[in-house]
Structures are given as C-alpha cells and as structure tokens.
Symmetry: C2
Subunit: 752 residues, 2 copies
C-alpha cells in the first residue's frame, strides 16, 4: 500500500514536487510500475468521489489512474473493481477525445479553412500520447529530455494544437485556437516550430515530418550513447510521429525509414494513420502496396491496431510492445476513420481538407453526444488534463537533480552536454578554423572544406554529419571519428546512402533536437534538386544545417550536364532565410564555415569546387562575413575604371583579367561576391564603397546562369555566365568553349 498512501499524501499537499515523486499522471513514468494496488474498498470509495466529481476529487482520482488507464494492473487486482474503475475512466477518456475532435471541428469551422478529418480520426492516439505516454513540460517546451512528437501529416495540425492546449502550453490558449489560420496567430495552417512552442519541427509538405523524426531519434541515440553512464541515463526520450497515407507514398519517407531501420532506432515509434482516404479519394486508386510488409523489409517492427477509433487499449498495448522492442523502430498501423463522428462525411475525402459546414457540425455534435458550445472544454476534461503542468514541473526537478549529480561525477561530459543543450559556442572556437596565405598550395575548396569540417568537429561537441554516399568525393569524413551505426551510435560520421532528400530532412530533425547540435550534409551541388524541399524547410524552420555541396559547376568536367549545376546558385539566392556561400579559396572557405556556424537560425549552402584553385591575395574570412568585398584594386577615390566581380572558382579568373588590364594602365577593382544575402544586409555606405553608383563599367563572371547578376552589373554592365546546360568534357575545355575565361572578360571590358 506504499504507493497508494503516497498518492493520498500527494493529494493533501498538492505540491508539484510531491505529485511527481509520488505518482505521475502519466503511466509513462518510470514510477508507475512501483504502484501497488489498493484494496477493493478503499478504491471504490475513491471512485465514488470521482464520480461525484469536484475538480480536486478528480485530480485525486487522476493521480491513481495511470494504472487503470494503461491496464497494467497486476493479476492480484479484483475484477469487479477494475470494471467499475475502467468504465469511469473510459468515459472521461472518450470525453477528452471528443474535446480534441470538437476543438478541431470548431477551429476549422470558424476559419472556414483547414483539415478536420485527421484530428477527428487520430484524436484517440493523440490523447493517449499526450495524456498517458509522453514526458514533457508544458511550461518549458524546450526541455532537453522531453519526448518529441511530430505530426508528419501536418495538415491535421488542429490535433496538435488541441493537445498542446489541453496539456497546458502557454503557446496555445483557447484564444489562439479561435484564431486558427489567421494573420499573426500562433496556430498557423500547418505546424511551424518557429511560431508555436511545443511544435518540434515544421511539417505540411508530406513525408518531411517522419524524416525529421528519424533525425530526432538519431540525435537521441547519439547523445545517449555519448553521455549516458551506467549510473545516470541523462539522455532518455522517445520520438513519436503520426504519418498518413500521403507521407507513406512520398519517397522521402522510404529513404528515411530505410535508414531508421538500418540504424535500429528503437526509440522511434511511428503511428501510421491508415484511413484509406487521400485527397483524390480512396487510396485504392493509387496506393495498394503492402505498407506493413515494406516496413518489415526496411527492418522495422510492425503492429496493427485495427480499431483506432475506439480501441484505446489496443493503442496502449501497441505502444507498450513498441517500447519493448529496443533494437528496431516500430510502425504502428492504426486503422482509423477520417472525420470519425461526422455522420455524412466521415470516411470521405470531403472531410479531409474543408470545414464540415454548419449543418454537418450540428449533425456531428448530435452523433457524438456533444451538447457544448464551440470551443468549449468541459470542466472534467480540463481537470483531467490539469496535472500535466505539475507533472512537468516534477519532470524538470527530477531531471535537474539528475543532471546535478551527473555534473558532479562527469564534469567534462556535462560541460559538453550543456553546450549541446544551450547552443552556446565554446570560447575561441573560431580560432580552430585554418587560415591561408597566398603562398599556401592551390587546392580544391572541397578539400579545404574538409580541413574546416575536421577543425570544427574538434571544438564543437554537437558537430556531426555526412554525405549521401559521396563522402570520398565531397571530402566530408571526420578523421577522428568513426561511423554512426547501430552498434556505434556515439560516432559522428553519418552514412546516409544515396538518399539526399531523407538526408536533408534528417538533418533538420537533428538541428531542431538541440540548439547545440550542428549537422552538416553533403552531395554534389546539382543534387540539391533532390533535397530542395527539405532545404526549404531548413530555411523556413530556422534549422542550422550546413549543406556541403561540392562539384559546384561545369568545373567537374566529364560527368556532363546531368551533374553540372547551372541555375542552382540563383535558385538558393532567391530562397528566403538561407545563406548561399560560394567561397573562392581557403580563407573564404574558412570564412564560410564561420558564418555558417554563427548563423544559428539560418541554414547555409556552401558551393565548393572539385578542381584546384589558387589561394588568392586579398581574400579573407572577414570579407566573407560581409558577403561582398574588394579583394584587389589599383584605383583611388572609389572610382575604378572597371569593376570585375565573381564568386568561387571564377574569382581567380576575374583576378587574372584585372591583372592583365592593370598592366595596360587601367584601374580595376575585383570584388568577391561570396554571399549575396550577407552583402544585402550591409549598410548603404558599405555597399557604395564596394559598388560606387558612378562606376557603371561592371563585369561579372560566374559559371552559372547570368540571370540575377543584373542586380550588380546594372543595365550598362555585362554578366558572363552560362545560360545553357553544361557538357561532358574535360573541365578546361568546357570553360574555354563556354567563354568562362579571362580573355572573354578582357574582350568584354574593351567593348564596354
């Protein structure tokens, strides 16, 4: 009777601390198994009180509920008691589930826009996760050791908003739900981590979320392997994700889930909302594969919950089973009815992405026995959920105590882990980056990049990453670390296989796991086309991912036009909140990495050469931080005859052409425009000091599309570039044939 009496004690004191130490409101608590069962009479009297139901009585009952709700009762329990208790609890759960459903219905109805179908079908699993299973702290949404939840089927975001609201997150008050999909609200049309604390990642574009979840689970496994000690498991959380048929059809999900299986991410638990409906109708018209068999082939454990609409116990049992399988991720297929409860629209595509309409909302209220006004949360439901705030406080206190112990015993590890949790950079980290002089040997920027990667890995504890099967071409191996694998998750070289899209989204998950995790990933620059959707989400969701993109132009030579980027530089320059950096040599490469690390809320794309480039005089890391700067100039008074500008491998060519013309007595300025975005952010004065308005004889050179360069060369200048696809031939020949040469700059200069 130890636990039982401590529960009573907790009720009496009602302090968060006491609550936590005695019995959590969630059965996921490691304490729940310690609960012994009270005798029949004592329990009956508790139940009696709960049914007469003052809020405090409910909370009191609540403190006892985990055992019953999760049906983990031992065999000693009296069957009659169980039945009575369960009936009371089930009614409350049903009410909570219907609250979630109607918050979604009402919000979509008010906005006259949104997706009620998924929340109505997935409310039961959502309820169980947030009310019974997950560890989180509503008042500290960024608590490091929280369980992560991702709604990969992001259109159903009202499910998540409703859950956050019930759980007590300040980010989603009832007023926020009433402002669903309105200007400036914290409840946008798809989940956005940067708008709403409690949302882990930004989803909506299908398949991204489940791949993010793989990244979150990877991060946990990696950090746990690095930091946990036999006596102190300081890192220990699950990652849950709900994905729908749409996510399943997307190739990115297969990529990421194949890796999750390969890595054996046992603490990743995915719920597949199997509702047989997609926008175009029954999934029969386009999706008849055997999903469970596919996941088994990918190395997952699979479970099928056949009745996701009411089968609460089956969902609970599935989660229990999933947790017991420690060496594989688990897919729980939960068969649900989209729009469950709507008498005329359930199980049709019409409930997927539109408001039900007033008439059908009424019919659904009738059908589900919901007499309340829109946006109403019944008192008993409120009360039922109210323990999550104190429970969260107890999690926090408990974990803080654990960390204090950890810090005492494992000082160095604790310092590293702190850095990962806070995102604070170690003092002087940037001095680790290499520097070069113009006498340093010529080298490809991909090789110089490798020097930077290895330097950063030494000083940044959260630095890890890899390539999509091109490590030896992208030059991305960290030499002092081994491979992150199922058996060696403490290592930092991640082998993504040929899965660019999954790689990008997994890195988003890693970056958004903890502020101090800094993932990089690599492929050929042209194959950003495969992962652009994930990169855009890096930018939108403010995930600091470093995209190491080598073979950045026709300079890669013989592989030909399928491998040669042309339009890629401008396509990223045009994307909001992402830095496109194209360094020209060693100092600029180091500068690019410095910028990438410092921009904590912005991903960076580094375009790097396959071919050797000389170390140029005048380049600098400081210059890179300004985005555009003068590397050489023989004029005075800010009035050169000519301004040449370029980036990356073509800056050398501009410098050469300038040298030639200077010999003829011309004054020529050479500008490196390594990052247009950073240059745009400089003051007007600085910009004028680089590009004086009075100098209109300007020539740009870049082995990419000329479109966009009008911005800098102006209407009287000239852009030298490539406005066609590339060609298969040795690089030097292509450069010559395409006119990306000093001779062409000189000829063009004479024509101006």
């Amino acid at each position: 009777m130890a636990a039982s009496s401590s529960a009573v004690a907790a009720s009496a004191s009602a302090s968060a601390q006491a609550l936590a130490v005695s019995t959590h409101c969630s059965p996921s608590s490691s304490h729940s198994h310690r609960l012994a069962l009270p005798g029949g009479d004592a329990l009956r009297s508790l139940v009696g009180r709960s049914l007469t139901s003052s809020p405090s009585a409910l909370r009191f009952l609540r403190m006892r509920q985990p055992v019953f709700r999760s049906r983990r009762a031992g065999p000693a329990r009296a069957a009659a008691v169980e039945t009575l208790e369960a009936a009371a609890t089930d009614a409350l759960v049903e009410k909570s589930v219907n609250t979630i459903r109607f918050l979604a219905i009402d919000a979509v109805e008010k906005a006259n826009s949104g997706h009620p179908g998924l929340p109505m079908g997935c409310a039961p699993m959502g309820h169980i996760l947030y009310d019974e299973v997950m560890k989180y702290i509503p008042k500290n949404p960024y608590w490091f050791n929280r369980d992560r939840f991702v709604l990969s089927a992001g259109h159903g975001c009202m499910l998540h908003y409703a859950l956050l609201h019930l759980a007590g997150y300040d980010s989603v008050k009832i007023e926020d739900i009433k402002e669903f999909r309105q200007w400036g609200s914290r409840t946008p049309g798809h989940p956005e981590n940067f708008e709403t604390p409690g949302i882990e990642v930004t989803t909506g574009p299908l398949g991204q979320g489940v791949a993010n979840a793989v990244g979150l689970a990877l991060a946990e496994k990696h950090l746990a392997a690095r930091f946990n000690k036999p006596d102190n498991e300081i890192v220990d959380h699950y990652t849950y994700v709900i994905l729908g048929d749409g996510c399943q059809m997307e190739g990115i999900s297969n990529e990421a889930c194949s890796l999750a299986g390969h890595w054996g991410l046992g603490k990743l638990i995915a719920f597949y909302d199997d509702n047989h409906i997609s926008i175009d109708g029954d999934t029969e018209i386009a999706f008849t594969e055997d999903v469970m068999a596919r996941f088994e082939a990918l190395g997952w454990h699979t479970i099928w919950v056949k009745n996701g609409n009411n089968g609460y116990d089956d969902i609970r049992a599935a989660i229990k089973e999933a947790k017991a399988v420690k060496d594989k991720p688990t897919l729980i297929k939960v068969t649900t009815t989209i729009g469950y409860g709507s008498p005329n629209k359930a199980n049709t595509y019409s409930v997927h992405g539109s408001a039900l309409g007033a008439k059908e909302v009424d019919a659904t209220r009738q059908n589900l026995g919901w007499p309340y006004e829109p946006f109403h949360v019944p008192e008993e439901v409120k009360s039922h959920w109210s323990c999550h705030v104190p429970e969260g406080a107890s999690f926090e206190a408990e974990w803080n105590a654990k960390f204090a112990e950890y810090e005492k015993k494992y000082k160095e590890d604790a310092a590293q882990l702190k850095g990962i949790i806070s995102g604070e950079l170690p003092a002087g980290w940037e001095t680790a980056l290499p520097t070069y002089t113009s006498e340093s040997p010529a080298d490809a920027t991909r090789n110089l990049s490798q020097q930077c990667l290895n330097a950063l890995a030494k000083v940044l504890p959260g630095f890890l990453g890899g390539s999509a099967d091109l490590a030896s071409s992208n030059m991305t191996l960290l030499k002092t670390f081994g491979d992150f694998q199922k058996g060696t998750p403490e290592e930092r070289n991640v082998r993504f296989g040929v899965r660019e899209h999954g790689m990008g989204a997994i890195c988003n998950g890693i970056a958004l796991h903890s502020p101090g995790l800094l993932p990089y990933c690599a492929t050929f620059f042209v194959f950003t086309d495969y992962m652009r959707a994930a990169m855009r989400i890096s930018a939108l969701s403010e995930a600091r991912v470093i995209y190491v993109m080598t073979h950045d132009s026709i300079g890669l030579g013989e592989d030909g036009p399928t491998h040669q980027p042309i339009e890629h530089l401008i396509s990223f320059r045009a994307m909001p909140n992402i830095l496109m950096l194209r360094p020209a040599d060693g100092n600029e490469t180091a500068g690019a990495y410095k910028v990438a690390v410092l921009n904590k809320k912005r991903p960076s794309v580094l375009a790097l050469s396959r071919q050797k480039l000389p170390q140029l005089a005048g380049t600098s890391a400081e210059g890179v931080e300004k985005g555009g700067y003068i590397i050489s100039d023989n004029s005075s008074g800010n009035r050169p005859d000519l301004i040449f500008m370029g980036t990356g491998s073509e800056l050398e060519i501009a410098a050469k052409a300038a040298d030639e013309l200077r010999k003829e007595g011309k004054t020529v300025r050479v500008v490196s425009l390594v990052s247009w975005e950073l240059f745009d952010e400089q003051s007007d004065e600085y910009k004028e000091s680089v590009f004086p308005a009075s100098v209109t004889a300007r020539i740009s050179i870049e082995a990419g599309t000329t479109l966009g360069w009008e911005k800098f060369v102006g209407s009287k200048g000239k852009a030298i570039g490539i406005d066609r696809f590339g060609a298969s031939a040795p690089a030097g020949r292509i450069y010559k044939e395409f006119g990306i040469t000093a001779e062409n700059i000189i000829a063009t200069a004479r024509s101006l």
Copy 2:
C-alpha cells in the same frame, strides 16, 4: 525440320528479309519457338564449321544459335549435341561479354575518367538483353515498337555504348567510343538521349531511369490497350531497365515502383545490379534493407539470379519467367561483382568511378585472357553480332506490313496511332482552345486550365496525365475519360498518388516513348521542390511535359508558408530549356497551353492561381507567344511616363494601379511578362517596342522574390515582390500585409 531448312536457305540467300522470316538472331523473336531441332549429324557438322570459323560460317551457326543459347531446346534434343553446341556457344558469349568489358575499360582508361565497374559486372546481362532478347532496329533507333532499355545506373554508360556499338547503331562507332567523355562526342559521361540515338532517356541522377522506365512501360500498356485488336497486336514491346544500389536507395524509385506494382506493368522487367558496393564502400554501411521483400510488398514479382557474373542460363531463365508473369512487373536481382575480372580492384569501390590504371588494365587482360589491343572487337564477336542489322530490317518490314493491315481495317485508330508515332499535330488543333472576352466571368486560372486540358484531350490523341493526389485542387481531371488503372489502361486520367518526384520522371518516360505522347502532371507549385530533379531532366532531355502547377503564390492563403511559393518562379526562369509561364487570365492560360504543346523539345511549367482573377482587357494568346507584351497603354510615341509590369494574378493589380494614375493624367503602359524565356527570344526591336530604353520609370509587381526583376526594371526602377516566407492567413490579408497592392504601386510610382 522446317525451321532448320529455312535457316539453311537463309544462309544461302543472306538477304535480310530471308533471315528475318526464317530465324531471327534473337530468341526473343516470336518465331524461335517454331524451331525444330536438326538431327545430330547435321548439327555437329555446323558446329565444326563454326569452330574453324570463317565469318560466314559463324553467321550461319549464329542463325541456329538462339535455341541453344537460350536453352529452350525441346526434350527431343540429343544431350551430347547440346553439350558440344553449348560449349562452343558459351565460349563465344564469353568473348562477347569480355569485349563489352574491355570496350568499357579501354574507353574509361583513355578518357582517364568514367565508371568501369558497372559495365564489367553487368556485361553478361547486357549481352543477353541486346544479343538474345530485345527487339530493336539499329538503323532505325526510333522504331515505334522497339523494346526499350534504360540504364538507370547511368554512370555505367559505357555498357550501353558498347552494346549499341556491337549491335550496329550508327550513333556509336568505334571512334565514338574512343572519344568517350570528350567535347562534342556522342558518348558523353552519362547517357543522353538527345546526343545518342539508341539512348532512350537521360540518366545519371540516380533513380530517375527506373522511374522513366515505369513511364515507358505505362505508355506501352496504355497504347496497347487503346490500339491493339484481337487480330493485330500493333503495340507490343517490353521495357528493360538496369538499376543499381544507388537507384534503389533513392526515394523516387520507391515511388515509381510502387505505382508500377499498382498498375501491374507486366512488361516492365528490371534488373537490380546487386553488387554490394557503392561509392562509400560496402552497402552494409547504409543499405541493409531486404530489397526483394520491399518489391514484393510493392506488388512486384521477384527473382534472384545468384551468379550474375557467369550464370548466363540463370539470367535467361529469369527473363523467361519474368515474361511469363503478365500481371506484375518483375525485379530480377542479379548478384554481380563490380569490376568483375580486375584481380585487384573487383568488389571494391575504387573500381566504381575511376579508370583502372594501366597496370590494373594489364592485370585484368591477363586475368580474363584478353590478348587484344585496346578497343579491339574480335572478328568472331563482330560476326556474331552482325545479324542484328538485318534482323532489325526484318522487324521493320514485318511491323510495317502489320501496320498496313491495321490501317486497312482500323482506319481511324491507325490515324490516331500515326499521330502518336510521328508527333504531328492534327490540323486546327489549336482552335479547340477556349477564348475569352473581358466580359467573361472571373475565374481562377486553375479552373481555366481545366477547360484547356479538357479541350486538348479531345483533339490530341496522345494527351494524358494527372495529379499527385490533388486532382480536385489542381483541376486536372479529364471529364471524358476514366482512370488509367490496371484494369482500364486505355483511360487517360493518371492517378499518381502523393509521389511528385516519381510523377515527373514517369512523365519524362511517357513523353520520350513517342513524339505524339504529351503527358501533363500536376501538384501545388511549391511542391515542384519535390520533383525538381525530374523537371530538370525534362528540360535537359527535351521531354515535352506540361507541369500544371496551381496554388502559385501567397494567394492560396491559409495553408501558410510551407505551401506558398516565393522563389519558385525565378528558380525555373533560371533553368535552361524550360518555359516558365504564369498566365493572368483565360486568354493567357489558353495561350500558355498553346505554347506548351507547340514547344516539342521543351517542357513547360504553368503557374496557376487558386483564387479568382478577372478576364483582363488586352490579354491574348498571341501575346503569350511573345512572352511579354503590352496589354494597355495610354501613351503615344513609345514614351509612356511609367511602365508597370507583372505576371499572373498580379497583372490585374498593375492594371488597376495604371487606371488610377491615368485618371491623374499620367501615361502608363502595362506589360504582361508571362514568360521571360519567350520574351528573351524576341528581336531587339520588339523588346525596345515594349521596354523603350528611354523609359526608366518602371515598376514590377509579382507575388514572389524580387531577385531577377532588375533585368526589366533596371537600376532606376523598382520591383515590388516578396523576399521572405509567406504566412498563414486569408489571402487578401497577406496581400495587403505584404504590400502586393495597387496602392503600393501607386506610392512607389510617385516616389520614382
């Protein structure tokens, strides 16, 4: 003995026609089963001649070989004869296979660049396909009814070039092979259909090829269902594809293969080159899923050939089995050794993508018993392959005769099929496109697009397509047709599911199947990010695919920034050989479709609005063909005070602002810039007539990034646009908050 004697007769006459009618050199011929077996003595004497081997004797033997090489001999055959015959044949096959290997080795060695590993491992399956199985016409590479072959692992292109060379294609002479990967050669670093007749599609970016193959097989199934008659199967070919581990890892291949299984593409046969090596090393490091089980889950038939290096008969048997399975595509996993034959580099990643080096080339020659000079094709191998040209001629004659019969009996169908084969547009097709006046009701361009799609489907026999599960949002359903499905392949609405990337690549396959096939595909414009790699290959490979991209801006409203394109317009304007069209109303939408259909070697992207737009005065289909044109102007002498320009949904706003300022006495020109690419192609005179150099007061407005607009507004003009991510709110509110309004144009105009 009928077949046997006709073979002798053929040898005597040596005419192509006789060869074909008697016995094909390929066992894929439908005639091969008619072959009876000669008696032991006669055969032995033939074999004796073949081994003493004058070329004509070899050809003579060759004509008899299919039976033995494919081991389809009936039980009546004498076992002793079979052994002797088989040994002789196997030696020749081995020699042919080694020829392929060394052509690849030598070409890569000479170029000092390329991928020898795959051709060395896959030469056996390549040999069997091109020498024994496939129907093709070397002198008419575009023969409609040919079997299609796609090397999805495109880096191994020397395999394909070697096969085309041996088979007698004029596009790959031995000089071409010696020019592998050189400027202007027909043997570029990856297979490019636009450079090399005999190459069906452009591959290299992994996973694209297998998805293209799904498109090719879809096209065959569709055309066969529409045009074949019980007495005349005028459409009847297989699609073969070789894909490697890299292709398997890419999400796009899972998307496309899931659809292939769903559609039951029984004539699609994929060879999975299972060599356990990818660039980063053993596939164990990143790819441990059960591929066969995954494909079974996707609805494929699977076969495993365990010895792909020498197991010729197993490969043959697998193909036979695959052909017998008519309701499912087949994956034949062929376990091979990458770089087979290289004593020190086989089975390592070092043989994947680099020349072997002189020493290892020598060692490989030694190891495989290859005494020949580089690029040598032994006479008996030449002779062995020489029958494919006459065989091809016979295929052509046979099929032409079949078609003549078809045409007689099924006149209308024949005319349609001819159009599909030739790509010739039916006279007057364009009159089917709708026209509008400024009195026509306002409508979303996505709806106007649907009118065009339905109009075109009526007049273009090769018009088909669909959406990635957004048909009811993209408005892409063809109302007079049903769904293309396993049981109804004659229909034209293709249901791609939520698989944008696979959709794009499948459409590339359809478009490149026959010049008159015109696929369209659809999703939200922002999700071009998911399929950009396929779209780039449309552009590069000159595949006329129409990309119907709706919800083209913040105008989609509440779904928010994950769904709102910002940088997408410029990112396609910068891509070579693709038309980015953003029509403003009905006439421009119709014009955009006209342009899309007429540009036979260029894909088009149509950006279409979700929201209603008025029919503007002054717009026209003819204007669209020029890319940019004046829709209204109250000035004279080509000197307006102001030029406003815009595209799509913002053209209306520019027109409104102009109307306002005209009331104040200003002269204002309004220009629609519906397609920058088409405008760029106009004469300087025309351009000056639209944008006179003397008028610098120019304002552009577009609900997308301003980057790029400098090109038209010049350094004194101003671009109104959106250089941040969008927001979730009703569309009108976002337009207002972002300043995409007539008021903002007017204010800006006053500031100029």
